[in-house]
Symmetry: C2
Subunit: 348 residues, 2 copies
């Protein structure tokens, strides 16, 4: 890129209060290791149906129990299945309070805390066919996946001790995926994780200073990629990764699960377009996406400044000790450059 000689810049965004070092010079450094990001093969080892894949239609019996399917009354012609994760990180049966007293110091005398690992861990199978990935679906098909997330979050939010729900997708081994069949996951937690509470504080601070919601007010001039009726896609001001992209509702909304069918179709179209653009530009990269919603039990005073969005992160490199140690990322691509490239890219 012609901008490789631009000076480095340190930026902090207003949504997460997160620092990033934008440093184009870094993209020129050599490596004596073989590259491990062979995106195509990495993200899809075989595009043929795999008889051993539990997520393929016909292999439903190899899966943990189903929670629901879409359409609800479908039999072998399901579009999306929401199932329990067979190897859950949290357990539906655990107590919220740990009985392991030895390490249970939640009173604050030691600052350490230990809780029983209560929670729900589900898998959303996005297609019955092994070779069909999320952006290969029709817009209406992507909308069905988005509505499955909504429905499952609604169910989980009815459970008293669940306080936060994280929807996320891993695509490709370098993005952490262990299964290649198109899927995403939902983890429902008894606690509010640190990034969600940081975001809440950061959004509150902005609201206190300006009287506005930070995401309703986000500046899009050079950072806009695309827009639909109800959503925009942008490169965030302090992108932590090259080509990181956010999809943000243009209407104010605290919780993802407020999404209605009409808006789900609109969002489905923009999500499909965004994933297609990243795939074309970056050669089918491994990627993650995360739905950043608000804690389930926000108070009415928090509603004016909390606003959900989707973060999409192509995985193009491996982070190192600097990022692990500081929480500050080094990104060689300025978001205005990424936005321009993605904005001008035509998908045929």
């Amino acid at each position: 890129m012609a901008t490789a000689n631009r000076n480095p810049e340190i930026r902090k965004d207003a949504v997460n209060n997160r620092l990033v070092i934008l440093s184009p010079a870094r993209s020129r450094r050599p490596s004596d290791f073989k590259s491990k990001f062979q995106a195509k093969s990495d993200s899809n080892p075989s595009s043929n149906a795999q008889p051993q894949c539990p997520f393929c239609a016909g292999n439903e019996h190899q899966c943990a129990p189903e929670i629901f399917r879409m359409p609800e009354d479908s039999s072998s012609d399901w579009k999306v299945r929401v199932i329990e994760n067979l190897y859950p990180a949290l357990s539906r049966d655990a107590l919220v309070k740990s009985d392991n007293k030895e390490y249970c110091h939640s009173s604050g005398t030691s600052g350490e805390m230990s809780l029983g690992g209560f929670g729900f861990h589900d898998v959303i199978i996005e297609s019955p066919v092994h070779s069909v990935h999320l952006p290969d679906l029709l817009t209406s098909g992507v909308a069905v996946v988005l509505l499955a997330y909504k429905k499952r979050i609604e169910q989980l939010s009815a459970i008293d001790s669940i306080n936060y729900v994280q929807v996320f997708k891993n695509h490709g081994a370098s993005a952490g995926a262990s299964m290649s069949h198109s899927h995403s996951q939902i983890l429902a937690l008894p606690i509010i994780p640190s990034l969600a509470s940081n975001r809440l504080s950061s959004m509150e601070e902005y609201h206190n200073q300006t009287g506005k919601c930070v995401l309703c007010n986000i500046h899009t001039d050079k950072l806009l990629i695309d827009e639909s009726t109800h959503f925009i896609s942008i490169s965030p001001f302090a992108s932590t990764f090259p080509f990181e992209t956010w999809i943000v509702p243009r209407f104010h909304s605290s919780h993802y699960h407020e999404l209605d069918e009409n808006k789900a179709i609109d969002l489905g179209g923009l999500l499909k377009l965004t994933l297609q653009k990243l795939s074309i530009q970056l050669n089918d990269p491994p990627y993650n996406f995360m739905i950043h919603t608000s804690p389930l039990r926000v108070t009415s005073s928090e509603l004016p400044y909390t606003h959900w969005y989707i973060q999409i992160v192509p995985q193009l490199s491996t982070i190192g000790g600097f990022e692990m140690g500081t929480g500050c990322y080094i990104n060689p691509v300025f978001p205005e450059d990424a936005a321009k490239i993605l904005r001008e890219l035509e998908v045929v």
Copy 2:
């Protein structure tokens, strides 16, 4: 491990206030991707001297300028060289204030901030020989590396606008390394990164509640691995990664660069032993280590509760969207189990 059926647990540590989900069941999940962690080949593509490697003795002219070497008066027989990074993330020449007014909103009206990317980015070459990695050095050789960090931090702390110094090491491609010759890096920053300021608040909170320094008071019963005269190695209570290990001074000290020669030898021995143990137990894994020190300009009231330590993280798997979205890690190995294994391991 026999503990794979143990119930999951959510823990928070007192040093970083960081949540982790300990979930042994996760270690049993299958994958239809080929494993990309071939540790040995990944971490060391060739153990022979490489004529093209700029970090090898004899190729000094291929490197960015040298800052100093150890011993100081050595010529071709140097042990450690500290050089400028040829592709620095931050620039020694940039202004601290950005002149890019377009995005410069540091006044807090928008919550966004942009600064010129001022800072220092150095490389520490830990050995003149390509095939010699840090734990292959004699204890006294490891101590020379540790004293080179100290000396460089002392130089950087004399610069007014530098507020934090991060020392880190990437070993192996899956730990982010682009160069295979044994080295570490130092980044000196004008800002205090979020993980360092979080740690400071967390340590302060503990001190306010107990009157004690959290790391002086850390409980070691089941988590101790080894101890030397001045240091201990432990598995942290809320390990974010399997076999994550900390080396903590047994004496109270806010800043790494207070280390003297005598303690550097002692620390060199324990660091060497710890890296050897991880290498034996985990088959020469890629790893990172980070020195977590205090901001350079802490006030005297902060000194009683700030305490430096080294965090060592073997990279055995790839994180996914859950960790990226929440900041909360899923770790399949309980730290008490990791500590027991490493404690009982004999290095001959």
